[in-house]
């Protein structure tokens, strides 16, 4: 052992790192550095190859591992692992890689950005090495996807070619999707085995096969393998990928990438194979791929298309061998993998040369090339003979092994004849298309109208083919001395103890497999002679039979269908409109609630309650209220005024309910709030756009609009009924003996100093809440003010209301009257009444305020009452009249109110109590008598001030809208003072 072999880790690292480093370097080269990039790639591939060869002695006895700590929290390390199987694949990847690089140097046009091509190629090589040398499953899955990515880039290299783009996209979609499937398979496999480390997984075969998750795991792993190795029904992407540059086809689509799936099945063969499921899935896929590929290959007019289908067929053959699950099958599969790589790569390169030299790949146009390029022709004929399985070539050996396996398949009890017959049939097809390939291209009269005149390629372009064909021949003649030991190491590394006896000899005597081979050779030749003409004139370039099963069409169909379905789904289920969105959310929640309640169904309804007959008056009141609410809902969309008025009616019903249920304080407050909100709403409604009657609605839309309106009404009714039911249920529940209400009733007087529990609650027990609420109220006022500050009403709401216009017209008709007189007259009586009412209401507000602590009233109610006084003045006399006489300054009210309330709260700090602690006593005042004077009354003053301020602020902001005129109309009055000044 030499020094380097004592450090196998360095060699291992160089095998995987060299391509990646090379890829980065190649990517950095200038655009036209063709020779530099090729030389670099060559060196890289050789470095890897030499490392592999040097490492060979180390792996004959078992795998070499090198671990790098990576993601310990996941239990995943970066593990490089090389054993016999991965060594064989590595040599394949690196060796054919080196040859392809050499070939590509001459194949690529100097006009293409060649360094980029080599960068992709080397990166792909690195990814392939990563797959082959992965020591854990995660790593394998990652490099697996990387091979898909770089193959995508390589196939799409000539991206100005539409076919290349479609092919690249299809290949990526299929293989990347398969890679994600592999990912889930790997996750399951690792979960079953308890580790993602390959050695652990490979040691857990029984555990894996016994696991209930075996089948799903197998399916996902195989989906990955089948998509990658172009197995039926995922085979269709491979012929499409032929749009790639030929070196790519030779490298990826014959020797390496499509073998990744095969590699995976071989790698996991010991732990996955041998079950009925494995046999059924893998075997079936294999035989179908074998036959379909071979049959379709016959009809291809494109040279590369023929080779592509032939590759599919051979991959199917290998898969079938693996699917049999027998050790001998495995040996044959591995052997055929190596053989196929050599002859198919050389055939692709030969096809590339033909394409390069003649300018066409169409078999119908090519003819008699053996005259123009005799050496290439000879090489291609030998390689094609290997593909057909002619004796003394390597293809023959592995095909014999395959046929022998097909005959002796021990499992195939009931299909004893089927498998050998199908195998022979597939071999016949192989002979047929190989013969067609050779005959059409190289024999016959020299072709006439070729795009360019064919001649031999540069020697170094042909050199890779020469080398590969030499291997074909040498292995075919003396297999035991050449490939034998390496194959043995590879087989041993997977099968271990179970390695069967096999013989690589060329001559096994006259036996059934040989007979089948001969039948195939003869049959293929006869069929070619018979059907040559119809095949060559077949305009479709493919067998009719498979048209409905054409993968490309299915793929396109699925993709288009998916897009269409998605768009249709979006238009059916999705919506851009808010209302259905809200409805959907609510429906979902109802459904969820029902689902959640189902398990508890029996427990529901146990706590029934008795219904006492209600007072008829109360019932009438509520019916009125409900009626008002219903009409409000129905009119909400088209008649806002009616809706607001009806809403007021409903509010009134609840006010009376409060009185009925002995809550006068609530009733007072509610009433005042109703009045103020209704008035403010009405003032605001004035500026909303009107319903456009001019818009014509087609009858069909009218029906829909009507339906929508009815459904809205139903939703409204449902919600109202639901809320009412909850309220009813809560109110008819027996009061909890230790409920919170009792506490307040008992302690309101002794702790808060008031008998009006609600007011004590507001200003004392819950003063902090109230402070928060009045702050919000203040903010609302300020916000409305700020929003309306610069608001200009919409054009359609600018003109005066109809009544005013009628009045004005009537005024103008009468010579004695000034415009506006009628208005003045109409409002005269209300105006006088309201002006006189002003002091009365103010006094009433003071009254409400002072009695608030013990009886219904309080700062809030008083504040609302006070604002009503102002509102009445504005309504009766108009904005100008009021503001000429009365400056309210609502902003100051707001600030003062909030300030007083806060300072009152802070006042308790002076006495060492927490914020908002209250103190109270009664004071004997002149005239008024005994008046409660708790500190909380100061707080209440704050509330009062703020409520007045906010409400009036909103009022003024709204009122000033009516003073705004469109800019182009001459002002009838002097301009109104800016809103900022008024407040």
């Amino acid at each position: 052992m030499t020094d380097t072999l004592a450090r196998p880790d360095l060699l291992l690292l160089s095998m995987i790192l060299a391509p990646w480093v090379g890829a980065v370097l190649a990517g950095l080269l200038p655009r036209y550095a063709r020779n530099g990039a090729a030389a670099l790639s060559w060196v890289v591939a050789l470095v890897g190859l030499v490392s592999a060869i040097l490492l060979y002695p180390n792996i004959t006895d078992g795998p070499v591992r090198h671990e790098i700590r990576w993601m310990p929290s996941l239990g995943i390390d970066f593990v490089l692992r090389l054993d016999g199987l991965s060594w064989l694949f590595s040599v394949l990847v690196l060796g054919i890689g080196a040859l392809v690089v050499l070939y590509a140097r001459y194949y690529m046009s100097p006009k293409d950005p060649v360094p980029r091509f080599f960068a992709y190629l080397l990166a792909f090589m690195g990814a392939m090495q990563g797959v082959v040398m992965a020591g854990n499953l995660v790593q394998l899955a990652i490099f697996w996807e990387l091979t898909s990515l770089f193959s995508f880039l390589l196939i799409g290299y000539w991206y100005n070619n539409q076919l290349a783009r479609d092919g690249a996209r299809m290949a990526l979609t299929v293989t990347a999707a398969g890679g994600l499937c592999l990912l889930i398979g790997v996750l399951l496999l690792g979960h079953i085995a308890g580790s993602y480390d390959l050695d652990v997984v490979l040691g857990a075969g029984d555990q894996i096969k016994r696991s209930p998750l075996y089948l799903p795991m197998l399916v996902f792993v195989l989906l990955g393998a089948f998509t990658k190795s172009a197995q039926f029904p995922f085979h269709f992407w491979l012929p499409r990928a032929m749009a790639a540059p030929t070196p790519v086809s030779a490298y990826l689509h014959s020797a390496t990438m499509v073998k990744a799936g095969i590699f995976l099945m071989m790698r996991l063969w010991p732990v996955l194979a041998g079950t009925e499921e494995w046999y059924a899935i893998v075997g079936t896929a294999g035989i179908l791929t074998l036959l379909i590929g071979a049959y379709a290959a016959i009809f291809q007019h494109d040279l590369k298309g023929l080779l592509a289908y032939s590759t599919i067929s051979h991959l199917g053959l290998i898969t079938l061998l693996l699917g049999l699950g027998t050790p001998l099958g495995f040996v044959a599969a591995l052997f055929h993998t190596l053989n196929h790589a050599t002859f198919k790569a050389s055939l692709f390169m030969a096809a590339g040369i033909i394409d390069h030299e003649t300018g066409t790949r169409d078999l119908r146009r090519l003819s008699g090339l053996r005259k123009a390029m005799p050496i290439t022709a000879t090489l291609a004929i030998v390689a094609a003979a290997a593909m057909a399985g002619v004796p003394l070539l390597n293809g023959f050996l592995s095909k014999e092994m395959f046929l022998a396996e097909a005959v002796s398949n021990p499992r195939d009890y009931d299909r004893n004849l089927l498998l050998p017959v199908l195998a022979t049939l597939a071999s016949t097809f192989a002979v047929l298309y190989s013969l067609r390939f050779i005959h059409q291209t190289f024999f016959g009269p020299p072709a006439q109208d070729l795009p360019s005149t064919p001649h031999e390629p540069p020697h170094w372009m042909r050199f890779p083919i020469e080398l590969l064909v030499l291997i074909c021949v040498v292995v075919g003649i003396i297999p035991g001395l050449t490939i034998g030991p390496f194959l043995a190491t590879g087989v041993q590394s997977v099968l271990g103890e179970a390695t069967p006896y096999y013989s690589l000899a060329v001559w096994h005597g006259f036996n059934l497999p040989l007979l089948m081979s001969l039948v195939a050779l003869a049959g293929g030749t006869v069929l070619y002679v018979l059907f040559r003409r119809p095949i060559n004139t077949n305009p479709h370039g493919g067998p009719r039979l498979f048209r409905p099963f054409d993968g490309v069409r299915i793929f396109d169909g699925v993709m288009n269908g998916l897009t269409a379905a998605s768009e249709r789904g979006a238009s059916v289920f999705g919506t851009n409109r808010l209302q259905p969105q809200l409805r959907n959310i609510i429906l979902v929640m109802l459904l969820a609630a029902v689902l959640a309640a189902l398990p508890f169904w029996s427990g529901l309804g146990a706590n029934g309650f008795t219904l006492t007959p209600p007072d008829p008056g109360f019932v009438v009141l509520w019916l009125l209220g409900i009626g008002c609410a219903l009409i409000a809902a129905w009119q909400a969309k088209y008649h806002r005024l009616a809706a607001v008025v009806m809403l007021g009616g409903a509010g009134l019903a609840s006010c009376i309910s409060f009185v009925w249920l002995s809550a006068p304080d609530l009733a007072t407050t509610q009433l005042l709030v109703e009045v103020v909100t209704t008035v403010l709403l009405l003032l605001g409604l004035r500026w909303l756009p009107k319903r456009q009657d001019a818009i014509h609605i087609p009858p069909s839309e009218q029906r829909r609009a009507k339906a929508r309106r009815v459904s809205d009404l139903l939703v409204a009714i449902a919600f109202g009924a639901f809320t009412a039911a909850i309220a009813f249920r809560v109110m008819t529940m027996p009061a909890a003996p230790d409920g919170i209400g009792r506490f307040f009733l008992e302690h309101a007087y002794e702790q808060g100093g008031g008998r009006n529990v609600v007011n004590v609650l507001l200003v004392d027990f819950r003063a902090l809440d109230t402070l928060g609420e009045i702050s919000v109220l203040g903010l609302v006022g300020l916000t409305v003010f700020a929003l309306l500050l610069r608001f200009r009403p919409g054009a359609d709401s600018l003109s005066a209301p109809e009544q005013q216009r009628v009045q004005r017209a009537s005024d103008e008709r009468h010579e004695t009257r000034q415009p506006g007189d009628t208005l003045q007259d109409t409002m005269l009586v209300p105006r006088v009444v309201m002006q006189w009412l002003f002091p009365v209401i103010v006094l009433f507000a003071v009254h409400l305020f002072l009695r608030g602590h013990d009886e219904p009233g309080g700062g809030f109610a008083a504040g609302i009452a006070m604002s009503i006084a102002f509102i009445l003045q504005y309504m009766a006399s108009g904005t100008r009249w009021v503001e000429d006489r009365l400056r309210i300054r609502p902003l100051k009210w707001v600030a003062l109110g909030l300030g007083i309330a806060t300072l009152t709260g802070m006042g308790s700090w002076i006495f060492g109590y927490p914020f908002l602690t209250s103190w109270f006593r009664y004071a004997e005042l002149p005239v008024l008598g005994r008046v409660p004077l708790p500190s909380a009354i100061l707080f209440d003053i704050g509330v009062f001030g703020l409520v007045v301020g906010s409400t009036v602020l909103v009022l003024i902001a709204l009122a000033h809208q009516s003073l705004r005129k469109p800019r182009d109309r001459a002002p009838a009055h002097p301009p109104a003072p800016p809103l900022e000044e008024v407040v």
């Binding site: 996941l74 996209r169 499937c181 996902f220 999705g574 959310i585």
Partner: protein, 478 residues
Amino acid sequence: MLPDLRSSIALASPELFLAIAAMVLLMIGVSVGRKATLLVTSLAIVALAVAAVWVAGFSHDGAAFGGMFVMDSFARFAKVLALAGSAATLLMGYNFIRAARFDTIEFPVLIVLCTLGMMVMISAGDMLALYMGLELQSLAIYVLAASNRDSLRSTEAGLKYFVLGALSSGMLLYGISLVYGYTGNTSFAAIAQALAADQRQLGLVFGLVFVLAGLAFKISAVPFHMWTPDVYEGAPTPVTAFMAAAPKMAAIALTVRVTMDAFEPIAADWRQIVIFISIASMALGSFAAIGQRNIKRLMAYSSIGHMGFVLVGLAANSQEGVRGVALYMLIYLVMTLGTFAFIMSMRRTTGHVENTDELSGLASTNPVMATVMTLLMFSLAGIPPLAGFWAKWYVFLAAINAQLYTLAVIGVLTSVVGAYYYLRVIKIMWFDEPVGGFLPMSGELRAVLGFSGAFILLYIVFGGPIGRVASAAAASFF
């Protein structure tokens, strides 16, 4: 009382700092006016960065304000991400809002306030703190979504989001009130205690359903996703970027905390709900996105799908699962910010474009931009070895180890479907006929896009240390 208050304030000092900073910034903005936007934006970014450093390096674990506010390594992880996400969107957004002429000072201030809300959400140890944080965050976003007042689409987006958000807040509050009614508590710890002691009751399950519905709305999971495409499309792009990144982080962190802390004893119940939401989101996110042509709508569906994947990790109900959630959110955040940096650079002399067809042939006109975007799309699709793959890997691993095989399988299948539309974007960029390049990217967008690209590309190298941090964060719950 006072020492307790003092330690509480110390624990919440980054939040308090941010609150004060927001107020100060607002004052500066109000007094100087619109020309201060650049200054306020820069100061806001500084404030967010300071808060992030503060949280990351100078905060300790503990509970404050009687358990309402919890600080632990999970909160630290999530807060740093939220702060970083907010700062990044501010950085990315300034030039955009200036070009679109709504560079008001409120924009940065609202983002700071929103971030404050997120931090409260992340640290919530009580239903009330939860609600407070959630509303602060949501209200800020409602306004932000409508911040381009002159654009109909923007105002529509804001209004829609507000109305639907109000509905969801209502559901959340209803759920909270039910939970409070049946357990007598609003504190997560006390709720868990009461749940463990008592037998399961209908009202509680109702409460759980409504609370989760409210949270699902915030992370735009199916069936509460309907607002997402409209709002994403309508809102100004920087706001969309913001909404897609940091607030999602906060809402997910909050969901994790509620389920893992408060509702741990009835895990069987919430896991069913989470699994359902997760499957529905993954499926809808993948299928519905296929038909999208507007890249912002596409990203909306993509985010719906990604939230489904995150919930796969949550459904596992294990430390591994929470770690998966944390890492997923980290990676999602970086990918989203990068993608939106790209979307904001989809600009021609005629203005911004949002249609995927506009990307046609970008690889030949703006090769660097197209390359990074390709990386982002691959990563979003979950193709190894990019960061997006690892995100999916962590959550699926957790799901499989929690024996949720069907969920994991459905997850992978939907990501296969999802990969289709990401690949379509790539295909358009690389293979379609060029329709003319975009204007050069501005420096800050370039920085964010570059960082994002480098992160997803190199995650495979430094995934180990990040994973350790996330593991420590997840350990807070176990």
